[in-house]
């Protein structure tokens, strides 16, 4: 009874089957960028289907089909680099705030499967509070329904708060870059004027000396 109710609550947050999909070629690598605050959990679910020429449709779970997922943090350090089957999910938590890169490509061992075929990948990436699995949380902490809903609201507010902090950090970086640009414009202009003036003076003196040596002046 309780499980039934919890699963009803889950419907509010459960993944819809109508996820976005795209096509990918044999050696292609598709990359997505997720800008994340720190300590944010991200869950990605994907499903790969191969185009079958005989039945002219996309088939699931071809044996030997695998996808390689690589996740890099803003400093280009690899957070996750694993191969999964044709259907899988990956989870990671960001340590530093910034732009994380999620790359996915096929590492199928049987290249003959491709032979000019296409691969269709359904992808669903959930960030922050949406990535939480509330059945597990409810079971682990033995929450009542009201507590579960309040917990979800708290998670949402925490995510909003983290995003606001991250916004402040980004704005500071933006302001620093603007101020640096402003200072640089001034200094480069001064430097260029100085180079112009000095070079002009040097030219005149050099040529004057040259003409005097040549007894033309």
């Amino acid at each position: 009874m309780k499980i039934f109710f919890v699963s009803c609550v889950l419907i509010l947050i459960v993944q819809n089957c109508s996820a976005l999909y795209f096509h990918i070629g044999e050696k292609e690598k598709k990359c997505f960028i997720e800008e994340l605050p720190e300590n944010t959990m991200v869950t990605g679910k994907y499903k790969a289907q191969l185009w079958d020429k005989r039945s002219s449709q996309f088939l699931d779970s071809t044996p030997g089909m695998g996808m390689h997922v690589e996740i890099k943090d803003p400093k280009s350090k690899v957070l996750l680099s694993k191969s999964y089957g044709s259907e899988g999910s990956f989870t990671f938590t960001s340590n530093i705030p910034g732009e994380h890169q999620i790359c996915i490509h096929s590492n199928s061992t049987k290249w003959s499967l491709f032979a000019g075929g296409k691969l269709r990948i359904h992808l669903d990436i959930q960030v922050g509070e949406n990535a939480n699995d509330y059945t597990q949380i409810a079971a682990k902490d033995k929450l009542t329904e009201l507590q579960l809903r309040v917990r979800q609201l708290i998670d949402q507010v925490q995510q909003i708060q983290k995003e606001q902090n991250y916004q402040r950090y980004r704005e500071e970086r933006f302001r620093q870059t603007s101020e640096h640009t402003n200072a640089r414009v001034l200094w480069w202009s001064v430097a260029q004027t100085a180079v112009l003036v000095i070079a002009g003076i040097w030219q005149m003196r050099h040529l004057k000396g040259f003409f005097e040596a040549k007894k033309l002046v």
Partner: protein, 226 residues
Amino acid sequence: MFLSAKAALACFLLVLSSWAVSGYRDNDLTAEIPAARRECFYQPTKQGQVLEIEYQVIDGGDLDIDFRMNAPNGNKIVQEFRRNDGIHTVDATMEGDYEICFDNGFSRFTKKTIYFEIILDSGEEDDELDDDEGEWKKFISPDDTFGDKLTSLEDTMNQIKSYQSKVIQLQGLLRAFEAKDRNIVERNFNRINFWSVTNIFIMLVVFSLQVYMVRNMFSDKKKVRT
């Protein structure tokens, strides 16, 4: 460009605020489109939903991209060329897969980064709200004094949840705007440095060349006489 970004934001806010508490799924992605390539994404839809696609280019070159949207039967719904951002809505979707394509074919070297969001609105009240209400009432013994308060509490919590979801979604949009501005500013910084150094270098080369050529003109005695 700045004006159209504000207009796009205002437009999006207007659409956002017109939604009631209804079930909608949103899926936002930031994808990289390599140079001279076209990337397509497909969204499966059911009959009679409201599909909204909103995109903006946040990094790369002149920050523009070609956009095309096709219906499941192959009809072209929208086609835009060299736009920075756009919002499009399909009010009554057919059953099938809508195709959304970003074409970076016109740029030979620069890859583009695009932030796009697909919002699918089922257009009706959540069915699961009714389910939850039924379960909720079964779990608690009916109590006349508290019954109404608990129902209103439940309604309030659902409202809070939906408002917070909109806040999170709006934060995502603002994040994309900020990323675009930040990329522009950083690119300006790099450009200023590079071209200033180049400028000084060229100035010095030209000055030296001038002196050298004048000296050359007067070095041969036969050529001196006018």
